[in-house]
Symmetry: none
Subunit: 204 residues, 2 copies
Amino acid sequence: MIKVIIVDDHPIVIDGMKQLIDAEPGMNVVGAAMNGADARELLKSTPADIVLLDINLPDINGMELCEYIKRHYPALRIIALTGFKEYFYMQKMIHNGASGYLLKNAMPEEITEGIRTVYEGGEYFSDEAGAVLKSHREKGGIFLTMRETELLSLIVEGYTNREIADKLFLGVETINSYRKNLLLKLGVKNTAAMVRLAIIEKLV
Amino acid sequence: MIKVIIVDDHPIVIDGMKQLIDAEPGMNVVGAAMNGADARELLKSTPADIVLLDINLPDINGMELCEYIKRHYPALRIIALTGFKEYFYMQKMIHNGASGYLLKNAMPEEITEGIRTVYEGGEYFSDEAGAVLKSHREKGGIFLTMRETELLSLIVEGYTNREIADKLFLGVETINSYRKNLLLKLGVKNTAAMVRLAIIEKLV
DNA sequence: AATAAAAACCCCCTTTTCGGGGTATTGGAT
DNA sequence: ATCCAATACCCCGAAAAGGGGGTTTTTATT
């Protein structure tokens, strides 16, 4: 029997999930929490296999909670269950230890299938989430070339295009192109977000 | 026996704390209040050693109440128990006489340990609160106001001035001023360097 | 009552970044 | 031989950020 814990600040979501999962053979809900603090308490008292984790929580960010859970209960497997379909959140949750990513509009079968797949050691993404990941990778993936990494480092250090160009004996337009391409590859919209991502993801 | 009074506007928190503390040997809860007025009455009639004090109270600010308690009952030792993890609140509470600062998401052991430590004359900060204080001291002279810290967080998250202005219901020029002032205070020349500093120095 | 700090706002002007298009040259793998 | 990825370059125009000045109001401290 797969023991599932739900962490979500919407009672309706909790109820719905509970109904769905309890009706499914081989799995049931052993607990639910509506915020990060309760979730921590629940995890202490209740052994489980899977956590369905929302990102929007009132007291703590779900991505941080994900990291916390993985650190304290490495055997627990986490599935993100959220409305966010942006690549950033997926990438962050995966980085913080999530084994799956379900959008809230996912079909019920996707949810139970996801739980089963992740329980058996796999990874699972709902159709829409998978599409986002796929399109992102197709757009260039997260792997940066040597030159791109070099450029990114200099950007993170606060150099402007002009300065980088002088430093590397390249044209400003070249740096500009690299910069725009980096924004694209990393899926962010400006320098601030890029620097943050670069540091958090240890890209530099 | 350490006599503890709880002041918090959430019944759930009071219940939880009561359960936790009464179950702990050597300490018990002798009273609880859900607002500032009740708290003052309670203090008059009930001798105690420790007050667990929330900052968010319906009638009076917990930071003011803290000052009041210290002035009227100097022997009483106060531990802030709150959801606010901003340095501002910690600094204010400590200044007003608190001997400890526990975040509501603190582990139960941290809470009982904190009560014991403070009762014995020491100071206690939950892990998360301690980290905030530490990073703040380490960065020396740099002091950002609450608003500045808030703005910095939003910048780090990649919002533009326009977006921040809309989010906080302020003018774009205001955000612009804050931004320029942050660059000055942090001694950096552009957003990239600022974001890097903010993350590395744990300013956000 | 005076001072100071924080918060919000304003203008002008320059530089930099960003979005959306491209092109040319390499050097390595199939 | 050809395909491909990496590198370097280019133009336009719009949006955003940065530099350097300000002002007003509120709030706290002395």
